[in-house]
Subunit: 152 residues, 2 copies
DNA sequence: CACTATTGTTATATGAAATAACAAACGCGT
DNA sequence: ACGCGTTTGTTATTTCATATAACAATAGTG
């Protein structure tokens, strides 16, 4: 599963003038490219982009209910169940009954989860650094993030 | 199917510090948001982002073979067949036997296809203008496109 | 001419995301 | 305390995009 072939589209041959000015198109291309690299780098950790974001969010907000985390990530509750069960099964997170509501489950990182996230964080830092380098520097990265936010 | 609810994720409530600095995450968010708007605006034309790009590419490169267009768009040949058949069925494109190769099919826009694309182009121009406005101006748009390319 | 590669195609598998229905628990109003 | 709509987490199902496999017809090459 490592080092997938990266199907580089669009690159040559055809006149792509008309698509070149389209924000949405270029956005999608860049996003796909970045995700491809993410998947390649995180292959050994068996961690997908959305899952990494999920762990980060739980680490930042321990004890929040499952649905709160799902909402913050923009994931439907039903689809979030599988993610939670997966990480629970891997021993990386813990579902504890929430205080004051016997329906709700509060999410926490286990010690193993914290350790795992630390490793993931290192891997991601390297990836992020390579992207900053591609962008030309920290300031360019900040400019990009600012512009992206205005589109969201 | 019109005016879908736009599930705005992430917005409030939780501490999202850790995800805020991640290029890939913000990229995905922006891309989703832009595509949502695209889908809403193009709802009446029954045209998806990839389909619009496809028509533009055929308009720019009339007579190219099916697989060339598919490659340029980064779409697998097998999956492109359905798209082509769809537009052929709508009378917007035409598949003609390619000169010199009886296997290949050369793609052209029909007159109806050109008219349709012209309408789509108008709709898209308005969408693009609104995004440029959100970004703060033409120059910001160009900066964004430049940065996105460096990531691709 | 024999063999391999390419073109378009069908059928199928995989994976993400949306929807529907549900039981358990909550909380509100009376 | 009761009844009733709502929320939480869950399962099952659907839809949709994309990936893979196999195939017939044609092309090109040694």
């Amino acid at each position: 599963m490592s080092t997938d072939k990266l199907s580089r589209p669009g690159s040559h041959l055809l006149n792509a003038e008309s698509t070149s000015g389209i924000v949405g198109y270029r956005l999608r291309r860049a996003q796909l490219s970045v995700f491809q690299r993410f998947l390649a780098v995180f292959d050994e950790l068996d961690l997908r982009p959305a899952e990494y974001a999920m762990l980060l969010l739980i680490a930042d907000n321990p004890g929040r209910r499952q649905n709160e985390i799902a909402d913050a990530l923009g994931i439907k509750h039903a689809n979030f169940v599988g993610l939670v069960q997966g990480f629970d099964g891997r021993g990386l997170i813990e579902r504890r009954p929430a205080a004051g509501d016997r329906r709700a489950k509060a999410l926490y990182l286990t010690p193993e989860g914290s350790a795992f996230l630390a490793r993931a964080h290192e891997v991601h830092d390297r990836l992020e650094a390579s992207m900053v380098a591609a962008l030309g520097g920290e300031s360019e990265r900040d400019i990009l993030l600012g512009l992206l936010d205005r589109l969201s």
